[in-house]
């Protein structure tokens, strides 16, 4: 119990006639990365919204950092941060102003220092005083995540953090997520990319048609399938590897 950052029991939610969640149960250990894997419309975002106090469930309970989301939303909000599906950044403000705004809203003692540190940590210091409208998708996502880290929340929700990003930006986000967990932050991320879950997560839960149909470590999930046959396959580079190799070479040449 004390070791769990999130406990979800029998969560149900319907939008009018659409029964999105049909009894979802899972638990997330403190300091771990937990991936909620599922296709579009499986209910991942609905789960995250309920846990982040944006939606109320119809039935079932959800406990975040020791607080019930329905009865103690303010306590929950103080201990979490949400990075939604679409980069929730203010395009008209600069990167620095975005961070300052969140720092002031989180009432940290030194907003300037906090935003400077985050700008540096996320490689945004050169772009700090440009309007976010001029940022690339990867930069926006980095700023978005940086904004979520203001005030060092214990738990961070990342709803499809790499959807729409190019491969390089995706690798960067992965690095950030790993570093977060190494620093002791609990991460719940949703994704539709199998590889992302495989790369990042300590535990993976598969959400399908409103229910968790599998939940375990990667090794445990692999055991659910019949033992692998040994086959000899000639290893071909994936397109992603080729792309990254060429792009990386170009960069080195440019230097």
């Amino acid at each position: 119990m004390q070791n769990q950052a999130i406990q979800v029991n029998g969560l149900q939610k319907s939008y009018k006639k659409l029964h999105v969640l049909r009894g979802v149960d899972f638990a997330v250990e403190k300091g771990s990365i937990f991936a909620l894997l599922g296709s579009n419309g499986a209910g991942k975002t609905t789960v995250v919204k309920i846990l982040a106090t944006l939606l109320k469930q119809d039935s079932g309970t959800a406990n975040v950092n020791g607080f019930d989301v329905a009865s103690k939303p303010d306590n929950v909000r103080r201990s979490i941060s949400l990075t939604g599906q679409f980069a929730a950044v203010d395009e008209i403000l600069t990167g620095r102003e975005n961070l300052l705004m969140i720092a002031r809203l989180r009432h940290v003692s030194d907003p300037r220092q906090v935003s400077d540190d985050l700008l540096r940590r996320f490689g945004l210091i050169d772009a700090a005083d440009r309007a976010v409208a001029t940022y690339s998708g990867g930069m926006r996502r980095r700023l978005d995540i940086a904004m979520s880290l203001v005030g060092n929340p214990k738990l961070i929700f990342l709803d499809e953090p790499t959807t729409g990003l190019d491969p390089e930006a995706r690798l960067e986000v992965w690095k950030i997520v790993k570093a977060l967990a190494d620093g002791g932050t609990t991460v719940l991320l949703t994704t539709q990319y199998l590889e992302e879950a495989e790369q990042l997560a300590d535990r993976i839960a598969i959400l399908h048609e409103g229910k968790i149909i599998a939940n375990g470590t990667l090794a445990e999930l692999k055991r659910l399938f019949p033992p692998a046959k040994v086959e000899y396959v000639e290893k071909q580079p994936t397109l992603e590897e080729i792309f990254l190799a060429i792009v990386g070479k170009d960069k080195q040449e440019a230097k």
């Binding site: 106090t53 679409f86 403000l93």
Partner: protein
């Protein structure tokens, strides 16, 4: 709960600072809220003005209250637009998942509307002074005018909030303001109502803009305001309260 309440004004201040930057950094907002009403004023005074018999020798004095109301009616469309964009872009979700007062993001927009419309009203009055506007009003009368305009702005802003929260498209979020901008034309803002045909005149004389225009005009020219000011205040308060209730209902539904 206590913590969120004691930070309410801080949070609202941050929100106000944010959306004031939006106003000051978007050229088209400034053009619409200041330059368009000024263009109307120039047009009516120097093009139509000579042919209009308003029973006054200073048409700028006669016209100014209506121009101010048009400026406010077009200014509030941006509140609706900004609110709509906030909902679309997910930044409201970020705010609502943070430990801040639930209504702070909304009040930030409402206050911005008051401040930015206040600025455009002042700019328009300064231009009017250059064009020959003169007033014999004392400090108290000016304060009363400011109060009525602020109340009118608030009332329309809450209507804009309803539109911004319930619109399905960007165009829809702004479209509601067109009839509001048009209302002053069917009132005593530009011409006296006597020459209008019966039904139009009946509408013009009994719609809120006429009472508000007449009250402001009387205050600025040092005439007795009579009943108009009470009718004007009653309209503003009534619209304000009804719009506020509907807006809050829409807001609470969106931000459960």
């Amino acid at each position: 709960m206590e913590a969120t309440r004691s930070y309410f004004f801080n949070d609202m201040g941050v929100m106000l600072g944010r959306s004031m930057r939006h106003v000051l950094r978007s050229l088209d907002t400034i053009i619409t809220v200041c330059i368009m009403p000024i263009a109307f004023m120039l047009l009516f005074v120097y093009v139509f003005g000579g042919a209009i018999r308003a029973g006054t020798d200073n048409y700028v004095n006669y016209l100014l209250p209506g121009i101010l109301l048009i400026a406010i009616a077009s200014g509030i469309a941006y509140t609706s637009y900004r609110l709509f964009m906030d909902m679309q872009r997910g930044i409201f979700e970020r705010f609502h998942s943070m430990p801040i007062a639930r209504s702070a993001p909304l009040w930030g927009h409402v206050l911005t509307s008051l401040v930015s419309n206040g600025i455009s009203v002042v700019v328009i009055i300064l231009v009017a002074l250059v064009m020959g506007f003169r007033s014999s009003a004392g400090v108290l009368s000016w304060l009363a005018v400011a109060g009525i305009l602020a109340l009118f702005t608030l009332a329309l802003t809450w209507i804009a909030v309803i539109a911004g929260l319930s619109a399905k498209t960007v165009d829809g979020a702004g479209a509601f303001s067109y009839p509001l901008i048009f209302l002053p034309f069917i009132s005593s803002a530009f011409v006296p109502t006597d020459t209008m045909p019966g039904p139009v005149r009946a509408f013009a004389e009994n719609q809120p803009v006429t009472a508000i225009v007449e009250a402001i005009r009387a205050l600025l020219s040092g005439q007795p305001v009579g009943n108009d000011i009470w009718v004007a205040l009653a309209w503003c308060f009534a619209i304000l309260i009804v719009a506020y209730l509907f807006a809050m209902r829409a807001y609470n539904r969106k931000a459960a």
